[in-house]
């Protein structure tokens, strides 16, 4: 699959794809949704958004999906493709796995298993 050979997603791309999980959105709505999903951490400027959008369009992870005229200006909508969904899922799995490893080590450091212990929080009792 194409996604397996691709490098990791940067945070703005990750959240733009995540914003489109619920359905098609136009640019301004994507910015607001990204800010909301990232807890205010990722605030995309207009130029930055379209830099991300251009790359995602180029990779076929999103597509333009309809246009309407609002206040005399064309408003274009974008939606996730199947490949975009697969890449986002893969990235989310990778982050979850990375987080799991760190959480496990953090817990180990807080509650070190004593020598000869029969039980570790990570493994079921025999």
């Amino acid at each position: 699959m194409r996604s397996s050979s691709r490098g990791s997603l940067r945070e703005p791309s990750y959240f733009v794809l995540a914003a489109l999980l619920d359905g098609r959105l136009h640019g301004y709505a994507v910015i607001k949704r990204v800010e909301e999903l990232s807890g205010g951490r990722v605030k995309l400027a207009a130029g930055s958004l379209y830099s991300v959008v251009d790359r995602l369009l180029g990779e076929g992870l999103i597509v333009a999906d309809g246009e309407e005229i609002i206040n005399g200006r064309a408003r274009r909508y974008y939606r996730l493709t199947e490949e975009g969904r697969a890449v986002l899922t893969e990235a989310a799995d990778r982050l979850a796995e990375a987080a799991r490893v760190v959480h496990a080590r953090l817990l180990d450091s807080l509650f070190p298993p004593s020598a000869g212990a029969q039980f570790s929080w990570r493994t079921s009792p025999a």
Binding site: R10, I31, A45, A46, G47, L49, D54, R55, R76
Partner: protein, 299 residues
């Protein structure tokens, strides 16, 4: 209406984007910009700066299918133009100096020696600006031939203008094989970038013109301020439009070749700092291409 005024000001800022991109995206960008700046009359300075830099990035190929390829080929094209412009300017400076110090009697022989190569170099620059690559190749090669037949001009090979066409030639010849998906650099952009690169090289003193202009050793304060301001302005623009960094890189090679040849005529020992500037030029160009590749791989 506030919104009309604000929209007009944003449209002015959006002119930093290429026309084709503006046709495609201006409405969408405006909707976001005006949506975020309701009740304002002026764009926020940070937002304005981000827009200009965004436009410069797109001009440098960030929205292209193969950004690294666009950056490399257009950077090479602009580098050749910058070299030819610097060569021409240095020759014009020599002609002006000859006229000032010796009048028409001194100007005539200098013009006879440097005139043909100067005219051919300027013509090659114009051909490149108009994207006439084959014509430019012929003119650059003719310029090299013209300066090669000049007999015994003192320190001729030790002058940057002698090397300008020589260093530009491989870049111009390589441009004949530009991939079909790399767009041409518009003439206005090409000239603007060449002038910017030229300004940087001259103001920073890489071309050593100010040493001729100021006889005393002490550099005036205003010149130091001008150098810092020019370098800062150039870096601000060039870190967005990275073709400019590729365009300026061969200038280091040019200066080094001239310095080594000049020193060689006197001492047979090339200066160590001259070699360092070559390394710096190569590092700048390689770094820009690597950064473009990294941005492309990471979505």
């Amino acid at each position: 209406m506030n919104n009309d005024t604000l929209e007009r000001r944003y449209r002015t800022l959006l002119r930093s984007y290429p026309a084709g991109y503006r046709r495609e995206r201006a409405d969408e960008l405006l909707e976001i910009l005006i949506g975020e700046a309701a009740h304002r009359r002026w764009p926020q300075p940070r937002q304005a700066a981000a827009l200009v830099r965004g436009g410069l990035r797109v001009r440098a190929g960030s929205a292209a299918g193969r950004p690294k390829v666009v950056l490399l080929w257009q950077g090479m094209h602009l580098a050749a133009m910058g070299l030819l412009a610097l060569g021409a300017l240095k020759t014009i400076f020599i002609l002006a100096a000859a006229l000032t110090h010796g009048g028409g009697d001194l100007l005539r022989p200098v013009l006879h020696e440097h005139g043909p190569a100067l005219a051919l170099g300027i013509a090659a620059f114009a051909a490149l600006a108009l994207d006439r690559q084959r014509l430019a190749t012929g003119l650059v090669l003719a310029a090299i031939a013209a300066q090669a037949v000049v007999p015994d001009y003192p320190y001729g090979h030790g002058m940057p203008q002698w090397w300008a066409a020589v260093v530009a030639a491989p870049l111009v010849i390589a441009g004949l094989r530009r991939p079909a998906d790399v767009p041409r650099v518009g003439p206005r952009t090409a000239v603007a970038v060449s002038v910017s690169v030229l300004a940087l090289v001259l103001v920073l003193g890489l071309a050593r013109i100010e040493q001729l202009a100021f006889d005393d050793d002490a550099t005036p304060t205003w010149l130091v301020v001008a150098k810092i301001a020019t370098a800062a302005a150039f870096l601000w623009v060039a870190t967005a439009d990275r073709r400019m960094l590729i365009a300026v890189a061969p200038m280091f090679v040019l200066m080094t070749l001239a310095q080594i040849t000049f020193d060689g005529l006197r001492t047979d020992l090339p200066r160590v700092d001259a070699m360092a500037s070559v390394a710096l030029g190569v590092a700048i160009a390689a770094g820009m291409v690597a950064a473009a590749q990294w941005r492309h791989v990471r979505l």
